[in-house]
């Protein structure tokens, strides 16, 4: 055997090995590859068997107690026009466990139909469509709310030669999204969302009008670019058949001109905003009441004619009476803000997104507070069943 032939053989094997590895590890943007798909299927089958065994051994599962939500879990159309207020929460145990949601729920004696998760754009495995997490939420009988954050810098140029270099990427990044430069990623999500099939919310590029916090803000993009990007993404999802996605447009109402970022009635199902009272912990903040943060903007939010979601509700403890804060918020919602159709507690333990120190938004650990919230939810009629 000639040396040249031998070397060629070794090279051929190495290359075919590399191709097989790449193909099978789902790095191509066309599909996830047969092996991952097969394993995913095996995993799902094992999970469902486990569920059935557990249901038999452990008494009625939570899904049973959420049966009343079934019409909404089965129909995106119903979710776009709900006739009562859907409660929900994000919990810092996510994405590893939903136990925190269930613990909060039993603390508040109020079922939580919505579970919020955060997902950033990018190449990493945990930045792909979170099908396991959404399936788990669905398995518990709730409906997922995915806050989907276009962090464009988490893509590798090596894998995607079509996108701008990393340090130039954020500048007018949403225009690039609108041009379709990120369709490799958007389409993969759209296909996976269609395959998931069950209705769920997507809160895309929230707080787009805040110039300080996220790279998709007005410091990098015009509002026209924002709207174009939004419409492009929604169109891609619709084209992929992902009509089960309910689109949540979520500006930061603390800044002016937020209403100019509205992508249009045909592209938005819900209008949302966060209502977080940081108290006096930072220079830019003071103790604000619920009505100061939300009440003053409500009319404009409701004027779009869409159901309104309070996507992040919370108050820190320092600087005021947070028991009263929650009581005011929860009792005023059904009375004064009838367009509000969803309230999600921001139940994060070590939140560091906008402050340098870690802050604690949790309710479950404070028994006086959780008792007050429980009582307000009941008296206001927000807690169902």
């Amino acid at each position: 055997m000639k040396r040249r032939y031998r070397i060629a053989l070794v090279v051929a094997f190495s290359v075919s090995g590399a191709i097989a590895t790449l193909g099978l590890s789902a790095l191509g943007d066309a599909s996830e590859g047969p092996l991952s798909a097969a394993l995913g299927w095996i995993g799902a089958a094992a999970g469902s068997i486990e569920h059935r065994v557990r249901d038999r051994l452990g008494g009625p599962p939570r899904r049973e107690s959420m049966r009343w939500l079934e019409p909404y879990r089965a129909s995106a159309e119903r979710l776009r026009k709900p006739d009562f207020v859907l409660l929900g929460a994000y919990d810092s145990g996510i994405p590893h466990t939903l136990d925190g949601i269930l613990a909060l729920e039993s603390r508040l004696v109020a079922p939580l139909p919505l579970v919020q998760v955060y997902s950033a754009w990018g190449d990493k495995p945990d930045q792909q469509f979170p099908v396991e997490l959404l399936t788990a939420i669905e398995g518990l009988g709730s409906i997922p709310v995915v806050t989907w954050e276009p962090w464009l810098v988490d893509f590798e140029n090596v894998k995607h030669p079509g996108i701008a270099l990393r340090d130039k990427r954020d500048s007018h990044g949403l225009a690039a999204v609108a041009r379709g430069n990120y369709d490799f990623y958007v389409d993969a999500w759209a296909r996976a969302a269609a395959r998931f099939g069950k209705p769920f919310f997507v809160r895309l590029a929230h707080e787009m009008n805040d110039p300080y916090r996220y790279p998709w803000g007005p410091q990098n993009n015009t509002k026209e670019e924002y709207i174009a990007a939004w419409r492009h993404v929604v169109d891609r999802f619709r084209r992929a058949g992902a009509t089960n996605v309910v689109w949540v447009w979520s500006p930061h109402v603390g800044y002016e001109y937020w209403d100019l970022y509205y992508p249009g009635d045909a592209y938005v199902d819900w209008v949302a905003t966060g209502v977080l009272n940081f108290g006096p912990i930072a220079q830019w903040s003071k103790w604000w009441t619920f009505s100061e943060i939300f009440g003053q903007k409500y009319d404009r939010l409701a004027s779009f004619g869409k159901p309104v979601m309070i996507a992040e509700l919370g108050s820190l403890a320092v600087g005021g009476d947070r028991v009263q804060w929650y009581r005011d918020a929860l009792t005023s919602i059904p009375r004064e803000y009838p367009a509000v159709r969803a309230v999600l507690f921001f139940h994060a333990r070590d939140d560091q997104t906008v402050t340098y120190q870690k802050v604690d938004w949790t309710i479950a650990g404070d028994s006086a507070l959780s008792a007050a919230v429980r009582q307000s939810l009941r008296s206001s009629g927000l807690a169902r069943h």
Partner: protein, 480 residues
């Protein structure tokens, strides 16, 4: 800490694969050279007390039938007159060499001093050489720089038990493409069983090396002294492979301990006098038995997670499988492709799952060899048993039994925890990690059934001696 250990184990595994490819890339086969007449040639074979006479009858008979003129010497310390009679009957010269230190190698060196032949075949007494043995070998000594010529090693008893089949399977690739690659790198390994040396080469290194891996030492020293070597990938003799698990483990322990000794004491000193390709090859051989250190680490991963929640690296099981499967398939494919260079393709080709099962089962033995080498504990030199030794099942199989017991206990724990304790909100999100780890723990348990069967079979070794069934006149194929 755990992560670092695991990374090292992982990179060790990767380096083995790559070293295998490096070796295969150099694959070479020498052209046949007919020997000139008139060379002076000797065969040295050794006998020690307790070795079966009937086996020597076959061996000495076969030596007599080797066509190229030679003298057969029986290096004997049995003090048994029957061995002397046997030597006479087959025209062999008996050298009485009692109380010589250094076991087999010591006797060889003593015999070297007592003889004058220029070329010496060191033949293990369980090996039955074929009549054409020297015709295939001696021609390569035409090149004055060739110090030894090694031929393939093959067996005549590999079908007699699971252990024998597995042990034989483990060696096929080495004696085919493995040694051919080493030859290409100029780093053949001399095998004590059937290696032919040039007297001058042995004398230049002050005689045959001594120790548990005396053949490997000898090969390295001869290369370091500037000699070349030739590997002839042909079956021109057949010998014995261990038939019972206990003998196999003892053989593996001896080799592991011996090979480490070479890596620790010979390579650092002689390394400078070897070419880098030779150094790399011998380093690869010297670190083979580290398998015994890395395997328990891999074995422990699922148990650490399932009992203590400790995870050295977060890698979802599905992702692990998708990354590892192509590598595994490619490795298997390469293994199958290089089988075309096996020495006796009709009997040696195959998937060799018995060999793999026995290798996995050997990790405690390799680990023991590693630890013994580190503390420089002595392992006595005993020739590998020629006849199967009856073994007690539990004594041979306890590592596998412990593993299976641990596995079943873990499975019971996982099932009860997930049925009754895992909170509803975590059940689904932890399913992949937990069941993936269970699957990861299942593979070695399945593999351990091979060793369990081997141990079970070793309770009742074959009743007949392996050489009873062979016919010296025909073992090398029909006479020409």
């Amino acid at each position: 800490m755990l992560f670092v250990l695991l990374s090292l184990a992982f990179w060790y595994a990767v380096s083995r694969i790559v070293l295998g490819w490096v070796n295969y890339a150099a694959l070479a086969k020498p052209d046949h050279r007919a020997p000139p007449p008139g060379l002076s040639v000797a065969i040295f074979t050794t006998s020690t007390p307790g070795e079966p006479l009937a086996m020597f009858d076959r061996t000495l008979d076969a030596c007599r039938r080797i066509r190229y003129p030679h003298t057969t010497y029986l290096l004997d310390d049995t003090r048994d007159p029957r061995f002397s009679q046997l030597a006479d009957r087959h025209g062999a010269v008996r050298l009485e060499l009692v109380d010589v230190p250094g076991a087999k190698a010591g006797k060889i060196n003593r015999a070297l001093a007592a003889t004058t032949e220029e070329f010496i075949l060191v033949l293990d007494p369980d090996h039955v050489p074929f009549p054409e043995f020297f015709d295939r070998v001696l021609g390569h000594f035409d090149d004055e720089r060739v110090g030894f010529v090694q031929v393939s090693q093959a067996y005549y008893n590999q079908r007699r038990s699971f252990t024998a089949a597995g042990a034989a399977e483990q060696t096929y690739a080495f004696y085919g493409p493995g040694q051919m690659g080493l030859f290409g790198h100029g780093a053949c390994v001399a095998i004590g069983a059937n290696c032919t040396f040039r007297r001058a080469a042995l004398e230049s290194i002050k005689g045959h090396g001594i120790g548990l891996a005396e053949d490997l030492v000898t090969a390295i020293r001869i290369h370091a002294a500037g000699w070349k070597s030739v590997y002839v990938p042909e079956v021109v003799s057949r010998g014995l492979v261990p038939e019972d698990l206990g003998s196999f483990y003892r053989q593996q322990l001896k080799w592991a301990r011996g090979v480490y000794e070479v890596a620790f004491s010979e390579l650092p000193g002689l390394g400078r006098r070897l070419a880098w390709r030779q150094r790399l090859s011998y380093l690869a051989i010297g670190t083979y038995y580290l398998f015994g250190v890395t395997t328990p680490l891999f074995l422990a991963i699922p148990y650490l997670y399932l009992w203590f929640g400790v995870q050295p690296a977060v890698l979802p099981f599905a992702e692990f499988i998708t990354v590892v499967t192509p590598v595994g398939l490619l490795g298997a494919l390469i293994y199958l492709v290089v089988q075309r260079w096996m020495c006796d393709r009709t009997t040696e080709r195959g998937l060799h799952w018995r060999g793999l099962a026995l290798k996995i089962a050997c990790w405690p033995v390799f680990l023991a060899g590693t630890l013994l080498a580190i503390v420089r504990a002595n392992v006595p030199y005993i020739p590998t048993a020629k006849e199967a030794v009856r073994g007690r099942f539990v004594r041979l199989a306890w590592p596998q039994l412990v593993l299976i017991a641990l596995y079943l206990a873990t499975l019971a724990r996982v099932l009860s925890v997930r049925a009754f304790h895992t909170a509803e909100g975590s059940l689904e999100l932890s399913a992949e990690a937990v069941w993936g780890m269970v699957a990861f723990a299942t593979v070695p348990v399945l593999a351990s059934f091979g060793a369990l069967f081997a141990a079970w079979e070793s309770r009742h070794p074959p009743a007949t001696a392996p050489w009873d069934a062979i016919e010296v006149a025909t073992i090398g194929g029909p006479a020409e």
